[in-house]
Symmetry: C2
Subunit: 417 residues, 2 copies
Amino acid sequence: MSSAKPPLALSGERFTAVYRLAVDAAEVEARARAIGLEQTVEFPDALIPSDAIREQIVGEIAAITPCARADGGSGFEVSLRYPVEAAGSELTQLLNVLFGNVALQPGVRLQRIELPPALLDGFRGPRFGIAGLRRALASALAPDALHPTRTPPEAAKASSTPPQRPLLCTALKPMGLSPSELAELAYRLALGGIDLIKDDHGLADQPFCRFDERVARCAEAVHRANQETGGHSLYLPNVTAPATAVVARAQRAKAEGAGGLLFCPGLAGLDTMRALADDDALALPILSHPALLGGLAINPGTGIAHGLLFATLLRLAGADATIFPHSGGRFTFTASECQEIADAARASLGTLQPIWPVPAGGMRLARVPELVESYGSDSIFLIGGDLHAGPDLVERCQAFRALVERSADGSVIDRHQ
Amino acid sequence: MSSAKPPLALSGERFTAVYRLAVDAAEVEARARAIGLEQTVEFPDALIPSDAIREQIVGEIAAITPCARADGGSGFEVSLRYPVEAAGSELTQLLNVLFGNVALQPGVRLQRIELPPALLDGFRGPRFGIAGLRRALASALAPDALHPTRTPPEAAKASSTPPQRPLLCTALKPMGLSPSELAELAYRLALGGIDLIKDDHGLADQPFCRFDERVARCAEAVHRANQETGGHSLYLPNVTAPATAVVARAQRAKAEGAGGLLFCPGLAGLDTMRALADDDALALPILSHPALLGGLAINPGTGIAHGLLFATLLRLAGADATIFPHSGGRFTFTASECQEIADAARASLGTLQPIWPVPAGGMRLARVPELVESYGSDSIFLIGGDLHAGPDLVERCQAFRALVERSADGSVIDRHQ
């Protein structure tokens, strides 16, 4: 290696991070400058050893505009532009430049980002997205296709038109049931026409419910129900796991005929999810769960804005669908925060697929019309406990499905029914 | 597989999570109960299908006590006890039970945890900790030992008594320097007697500073300085990286003679760090950086308490040292929050090693006496930019070291000098 020092010569392309700052007009420019230093050189401006670094590396201020603050105080939106090379095509480092150190400072919230093609092109994003998951549900990824030794019934083979209605999702729970009890539940949920039957995110590999046995039994149960109904329910086991076990569990899930994966990037890493999504040998839809991660969004003056955290960043990290707590359930997201997530999930983002918003968190059947009204057809409704609140689980699932179909626009009602 | 349903029969051993809730006396018990359900079965109590699950799985309330709240409102500390089996020996799932879903709710902060041996024994924790890193600095892990083809000078061979003073740490920066420029810096920092020379956490694998070249050059430079001085400076490259690249970068770092690793678990996953720490083929000390992760601590009414987040959880995840922003720098942690971190870093935690608190974030040489006073000898002082504020970097490092030695208790002054 030569010890020559080539001059720094970056492309000049930049990506933009917009921060909302709780500061006075007198302070805002200094604070913006400090963030531009903090997130790049992390060095006092006066000590930066070259103008090339100051000009090419340090985050530069593109705009400062006053904005309203939730608490009534003065605030500003500040746009900072960072060199694309600083993020180095890595999601971990992109997150770091956007918000690594300033996450530890009060009064600053990362509101939105704008990434040029030079940066976006480094991310494959969701493998399925909205259109891909609809196709998967119609046929390609149903357990029959994933498990070629199992013979699909003629009814299933024939159904190649994807449903255009909102999708139905539920969770296998509660924790404490055995694999065979969960499989029996999965069977009945599939009989009832639930599209996506996922593990509760608290089902890991506990001694009372081992991953391998659970996944084998539940995948088989959903397959059996599909055989009987001609339906296409998918089973999505939870592969949130220790770093050294994630890929093996996902492979096992695929081998057993799972139709997708549930993953909690807040517990196991955003980039770990990205690696699952990019794995051509897996090629399964990924449903993202907000456990722990959501803590970065809930304080309005700090952290990361709802739409950016629960949708844009998860799309970069390969999620095909994003679960979040809908307003009025057990959590406290507002209707507009939820709308922000749904909008960001389906907004244009380079060539990355739009993804499914999955409102959840204590939803009830009675709210289906409102969910359809709020989120439209390209959304997944996740109802857990309330499906178990009637005398017959299968009938209640059918009622859920009928409600969704009735509430959705007549023109996009599932033609399979 | 049989479809028999064995009754749920857990050990009855439980671990404790203490939450601080911003609620009135009239609401506290219902809120505590709701958390016990949310973090386990995530199911309405009335629908839980068996008493065995209700009794053995659901988090049970152990204590409710009033506590002061920062904003003056009423508050309670609630102790909930969860079955050890619910966490399933996995850090990801332990985090989930402790705080997965409630991280999305306002008015609840995870204050502290108590883990019984049955659970702690599943975690190896820090491989080095305080004593191990002192030994590594004395000889074992100095680049000479890691790189047997390089011959250590007699001076280095002879130094087998670990220093008992606080350790000195700095970062290679700013981003934008080339590998050879960073290596030149590393060389001079090692000449000046800095114990731990880490990559800035923003150095990843950017096109203007590739990981492989940087690590090779910097490791060589620190080795060369050690050869000249008889010192034992360690170089710790940043291996925060995409999920599929972390282990390879750590292995590369080890092969090049790095003396430890820098890692940002908030960017790349707590359990990814745990896997690095548990990797017997690596066996390098790990310095944890709080990027992004810190966002979970900074709002006093939500998130995770400073000591628990920056020390206890990082010990479970294998960190040997924990960087956090000391009060009075560029960040706003209070002195008592910093003390909480230092205490938790060195508190008893089963058989897990105590670890090094690393106060940082805009520290200056002038504050060394105060740092020594606050943190004592078992701590690492990380000074970045201020080392570059004098006319000569090597001399300023020597002044830093002299200050630390002079400020520390005479009885524990480094005997190598």
